[in-house]
Amino acid sequence: MDATTLLVVITTLSLLGYVLGRQRSIKVAANHGGQRKLHSLPKYYGYMVSLWTGLPALVLLVFWLIFEPGIINSMLLAELPAEMSALSENKLSLVMNDLQLLAESGRIKAETDPVKRSAAETLVGLENRSQLVRNILIFSVALAGTIWSLSRIRVHTRARVFVERIIRYLLILCSLVAILTTIGIVLSVLFESLRFFKSVPLTDFMFGTKWSPQTAIRADQIGSSGTFGAIPLFAGTLLISAIALIIAVPTGLMSAIYLSEYASSSFRAFAKPLLEILAGIPTVVYGFFAALTVAPFIRNLGETIGLDVASESALATGIVMGIMIIPFVSSLSDDVISAVPKAMRDAAYGMGATQSETIRQVLIPAALPGIVGGILLAASRAIGETMIVVMAAGLAANLTANPLQAVTTVTVQIVTLLTGDQEFDSPKTLAAFALGLMLFITTLVLNVIALHIVRKYREQYE
C-alpha cells in the first residue's frame, strides 16, 4: 500500500467517523431526553470524530514522508561494507543514488556487482519494512482516534467549540503561508548567495565591471574562474527600465488624467478595459513582439537614417516593456487622481481656472505622492520583468549608456545561468542566486517605499 492509497484509506475512515459520530450523538441524546439536550448539533459530533480520525494520522503521515528517506539512508549506511561507507561525501551520495535507482528498477537480480546487489536488497528490505510499519502505525492511530472520540461523546460534550477551534487554527495556518513564502525566498536566495560570496568577494561582485561567468573545462584554463562583476548588469537593467518608464509614465499619466477628468462615462467604460488588456497580455507575448517585430523595425529605421543599431537593442526592449507597464501607471494614477476631494477641484474652478490649469496646479500636486508611489511600483515591475528581456535583450554584458546597443540585465543572466544542465554547486549557478538576492532587495525596497507613500497619502484624504 503506497502513500496515496493510505491517504484514501484515511479519508474513508474519516468520512466513516463522521457518520458514526453523528449517529452516536443522536443515540446518546435519546437516552437523555432527545436531541434538544445535546450541546451541539449532531453534525458537529460527526465532524469531531472525523477530525480525531483524520488529523493525527495525516500529521503523522506528513512527518513520516519527510523524515523517512534520511533515516533509511543512515540505516543503509550502517550496513554498507566498510570500503563503501568510507568514500568521500560526494562519491557516497552518487553510490546512494545508484542504489536507489537499482532498487526502484526492480532488476536487482540482474546486477553483477555482488556488493551492490546485496546493498540494494538491503535497501528494498528496509523500504518494505518502513512501509509496513508506517501503514500499521498510521492505521492504528486513525482507528484509535475514532474509537477514543466516539467514547467521549456525552450530552454535554462541546463538540462545536472543539470543531470551531480547530477550524480557527487551520485558518491561521493558511494565513501563515504568506509569511513562510517570504521566509523561504529570503532563506533560499540568502544561503546560496552566501556560498557564492565565499568564492567571489562581495566587493568584486558589487563593483566589478566585467561579467563573464564561464566555467572552466580544464582546471588550468586561463580565466577559468570566470569574473562576476555585476555593474554591467545593473547598468543594463537601469537603462532598459529607464527607457520603459520614459514611454510609460507620460502615456500612462496622461491617459489617466484624460480618463478621470475629461472622458465621458461611456468613453471611459469602453477605453479603460481596453487599455487594461495590455496588462493582461502574457509577458512572453511581448517578448516575441519585441524580438521579431519591434527590434527589426528599429534596426531598419536606424539603417535608413544611417545609425548603427544592434539587433537586440536596449531601445526596442525598453519600448515594448514601456507599453506593458502603461496600464499599470495609468490605473494607479487614475485611482489617486480620483481620490482627490471634489472640493479642491471646485475651489479651483471657482477661482476661474481652466480645467487643465486645475489639473496641473491643483490635482497633480495633491496627488503627487500617490503618483510617485505608482511610478516606483512600475519601476519595480520593470526591473523584475524577465521574459521581454530574455527574448529581446542581449546576452553579452556591455557597459554602455547607448540605447541603440545591446545590453543585458540581471533577470536575463539569472535565466541564462540556471537553464541548462550544470551541477548545482558551481559559482556559475550560485551567481544566479546572488543576482536574485539583489533583485529581491531592490524591488522590496521600492515596494515598501511605494506602498508606504500610497497608504499614507490615502489616509490623508479619508
Binding site: 493558511c174 503561508v177 496622461m254 484624460y258 475629461y262 480645467q355 523584475g384
Partner: protein, 420 residues
C-alpha cells in the same frame, strides 16, 4: 488696463493651452490603443499561415520487396519494415527523370519525416494492403509548405531551384492540397515544424493550473477569512498584511528561484513536473487571491453578520454560512483573474526546468511537461521560419484561453455581484 482686460487678453492663450492639454490626453489613450492594435494584428497576421498545412498526394505501392519483408509478412515483421525507403520511392516514382543521388535525396526531403510513420501505421492497421497500390496523402515538409504559402516565390530561400520546379509540378498536377492544420492541436512538440503541436504544452498547462487552483483557492480564501473576520488587530497581523502586499509585487522570477532551491533541491521533487510548477505558481497567485477575497468579504455589510449572530449563530457559523456565500462571486472573480495570470506566467517555470524539449504528452502531475507560454518561448527561439507562424498560433491559443477566463470573471461579476 484694468484686471478684467488683462485676464481677457490672456484668455485665448489659456484656452489654446487647455485644448492642447486635452489633445495630449487623447493622444496618450490613442497611443495605447494603437500599441494594442499593432500587437494583436501583427500576431494574427503572423499566425495565419500556421492554421493550414499542405499535403502531397502519393501513389504508394506497398511492395514487399521495397519494404524488405516476405509476401505474407505478419504484424511483427511489418513493424520492422523499411517504410523510409517506401516513402522515398513513392515520391521518386512521380519524377522518374531524376537520377542524380543528391537530387534524389533533395526530392525525398520534400516530404515530412512523418510520412514513413504514417505509411507504417496505415499498413499495420490494414495488413492486407501489402502488395497493393494505394493513393495516400502525406504531409509536406515545412520548407515546401512555406514555399506554397509565400506569394513572392523568389523569397522562399530554403528550397533550391530544382525543388521549386518539383513543387510547382506537384501543384500543377493537382497533387497538393491545402488543409486545416489539425496537427497543431493533436501533436506534442517536435523539431520538425510541420509535425509540432501544442497538445503537450496545453496538457501541461492544464495540470499545472489544476494544481494551482486546488492549492491556491482554499489557502487564499482561508487566509482571507482569517485576516478579515477573526484576526485581532496586532503587530503580527500587520506583519502578515504588509507581507502579502509585498509578495504581490515581488518579481515572478524570484518565485522560480524559491521553487528551485526549496522544492527541487531541498525536497527533491522532480524537475519539469507540473506539480512543482503548480506549487510555484500557487505561491505567486496567493497574494492576488487573498487581496481579492479580502475585499469581497469586506464588501459584505455588517448587518448580515449582526443578524446571524443575533439569532444565535456562532462566529464560525456566521462566516461560513452567511458571509462566505455572499462574498463568493467576488472571490471567484479574483481567483479566475489570479489563475489567468498564472496561466500566462513563464519566467518562474524556466527556473524549475519546465523548458525541456518534451515530445510526449504528459499523463500526470509528475511527468515531465512544459506549459503553453514556455512552449511559445521555445518556439520563438527556434531558427526555422515555419516556427514563427507556429509561435504566433500558439500565442493566439493562449490569448484565447485568457480572454475566455477573463470573460468568465467579468460575467460572474456582472451576474452575481450585489450592491448593498
Amino acid at each position: 488696463m484694468n484686471n478684467t482686460e488683462l485676464i481677457k487678453k490672456g484668455l485665448a492663450k489659456r484656452y489654446r493651452r487647455e485644448k492642447r492639454f486635452r489633445a495630449y490626453g487623447l493622444m496618450a489613450i490613442l497611443a495605447g490603443f494603437i500599441f494594442l492594435f499593432v500587437l494583436v494584428t501583427d500576431i494574427v497576421i503572423k499566425a495565419t499561415p500556421a492554421f493550414t498545412q499542405h499535403w502531397i498526394k502519393l501513389e504508394v505501392n506497398f511492395n514487399p520487396e521495397i519494404l524488405d519483408v516476405g509476401k505474407k509478412a505478419g504484424i511483427d515483421e511489418l513493424k520492422q519494415a523499411n517504410y523510409n525507403l517506401l516513402a522515398k520511392k513513392s515520391i521518386r516514382s512521380l519524377f522518374p527523370e531524376v537520377k542524380k543521388r543528391r537530387d534524389k535525396s533533395k526530392l525525398a526531403a520534400m516530404l515530412s519525416s512523418s510520412a514513413e510513420y504514417q505509411l507504417r501505421d496505415m499498413l499495420l492497421a490494414e495488413p492486407y494492403l501489402l502488395g497493393q497500390q494505394q493513393t495516400v496523402w502525406v504531409l509536406a515538409d515545412d520548407d515546401v509548405d512555406t514555399y506554397y504559402k509565400t506569394d513572392d516565390k523568389s523569397k522562399a530561400v530554403r528550397l533550391n531551384d530544382k525543388q521549386k520546379i518539383w513543387a510547382d509540378t506537384l501543384a500543377a498536377d493537382g497533387r497538393v492540397s491545402k488543409r486545416l492544420n489539425t496537427t497543431l492541436f493533436t501533436n506534442g512538440d517536435s523539431r520538425e515544424p510541420e509535425q509540432a503541436g501544442i497538445r503537450g504544452a496545453a496538457t501541461g498547462s492544464f495540470y499545472t493550473i489544476l494544481v494551482t487552483l486546488l492549492l491556491s483557492f482554499p489557502l487564499g480564501v482561508a487566509a482571507a477569512i482569517y485576516l478579515e473576520e477573526f484576526a485581532p488587530r496586532n503587530r503580527w497581523v500587520d506583519l502578515i498584511e504588509v507581507n502579502i502586499n509585498n509578495l504581490a509585487a515581488v518579481p515572478s522570477i524570484v518565485f522560480g528561484l524559491l521553487g528551485l532551491a526549496v522544492f527541487i533541491n531541498y525536497f527533491g521533487l522532480p524537475r519539469s513536473a507540473p506539480l512543482v510548477g503548480g506549487l510555484v505558481l500557487t505561491l505567486m497567485t496567493l497574494p492576488t487571491i487573498i487581496i481579492a477575497s479580502r475585499s469581497a468579504i469586506k464588501a459584505v455589510p455588517p448587518s448580515i453578520r449582526q443578524a446571524a449572530l443575533g439569532i444565535g449563530a456562532s462566529r464560525t457559523q456566521t462566516v461560513f454560512q452567511h458571509v462566505l456565500p455572499l462574498a463568493m462571486p467576488g472571490i471567484l472573480t479574483g481567483t479566475i483573474i489570479g489563475l489567468a495570470q498564472a496561466l500566462g506566467e513563464t519566467a518562474p517555470l524556466l527556473m524549475i526546468g519546465m523548458v525541456a524539449f518534451i515530445v510526449d504528452i504528459p499523463h500526470g502531475f509528475l511527468d515531465s511537461a512544459t506549459v503553453l507560454p514556455v512552449q511559445i518561448y521555445l518556439w520563438a527561439d527556434s531558427p526555422e521560419r515555419a516556427f514563427v507562424a507556429k509561435t504566433s498560433a500558439a500565442i493566439l491559443v493562449l490569448l484565447l484561453f485568457l480572454v475566455v477566463m477573463n470573460g468568465l470573471a467579468v460575467l460572474l461579476r456582472k451576474k452575481f455581484e450585489r450592491r448593498w
